[in-house]
Amino acid sequence: MAQYFLIFISAIFVNNIVLAKFLGICPFLGVSKKTSTAIGMTGAVTFVMTIATIVTWLLQKYVLVKYDLVFLQTVTFILVIASLVQMVEIILKKVSPSLYAALGIFLPLITTNCAVLGVALLSAGNADFGLLQSTMFAIANAIGFGLAIIIFSGLREHLEFADVPEGMKGAPVALIVAGILALAFMGFAGLA
């Protein structure tokens, strides 16, 4: 149990995937203008990240490592993830057009979201991780992503009303906020 607890604390706070590891910055900046979409995106990422990690972990252990093909890791992983996301995308378009409209172009972006591939690579590359650990690692990172992006979207919504200087509007001020957020999160150093 303690092991899973540590995985969670580490991935969510100490080594937050966005704020410390720099993964998934594009959606972090792109889908964080409104809290509601940020929440939606978090759901989507959690889902895709978890499923992708499970699949790629299986692939890694039972195919790549078994047949000594680890150099194919990148290609196979991304292929699997891309297909997965596209599947979800197509399904979603049909099942829930409103969500599809809300997340719009960002669904394909999940494909190209380094966070998903990054987490898959990290958990596949970690020899200590069994399937469950990997899955929990993925979930923890997704929660870390969600935490960061939801806080961030709150801040950005708040900034909507702020009188941000002309040149700083948009991405610059968002990045400054992200920077200060990362600064604050450094306080978690050493917790895990």
């Binding site: 929440i39 759901g43 978890t50 809300a102």
Partner: protein, 137 residues
């Protein structure tokens, strides 16, 4: 999580048509303690009529009803699209790991569960994506 704001109004049924109901909405929202007389046109009150889909509500002319408008479905969509299947996957994964102790089987099964899930969701799609209009309570 996202809040569901619904806008509600008291109303009286004025006319019943084949598939819709016309209601007179009683205005109570705006004009009380309104100091902006210039803008307030109380004469507007009578004109507030709303057309409501008739969903086998048995109402009669003159009945007092509440009309409401549900604004978002976003959360429901995220829930059905992602959150629910996500938990199903995790549940199956843990369950199978406990039962079989075989990561391969557990993994494949937990992913495999998604196919039937989405199929069911697809078949029920009409129920889910129904557009909300003014409705009666």
């Amino acid at each position: 999580m996202e809040k569901f704001e619904t806008i509600e109004h008291d109303a009286f049924v004025k006319e019943i048509r084949d598939d819709t109901i016309i209601v007179d909405v009683i205005s109570k929202s705006a004009c009380m303690s309104c100091q902006v007389k210039g803008v307030c046109s109380v004469s507007d009150i009578a004109e507030k009529q709303v057309e409501v889909i008739r969903e086998n509500n048995d109402v009669q002319i003159g009945d007092k009803v509440i009309v409401f408008l549900a604004q978002t479905l976003g959360f429901k969509a995220v829930f059905l699209g992602y959150i629910a299947p996500f938990f199903i996957v995790i549940f199956i994964l843990i369950l199978m790991l406990q039962l079989t102790n075989n990561e391969l089987i557990a993994g494949i099964l937990s992913i495999g569960i998604l196919l039937p899930y989405y199929l069911i969701l697809f078949l029920m799609k009409d129920k889910i994506s129904k557009k909300y209009l003014f409705r009666l309570k």
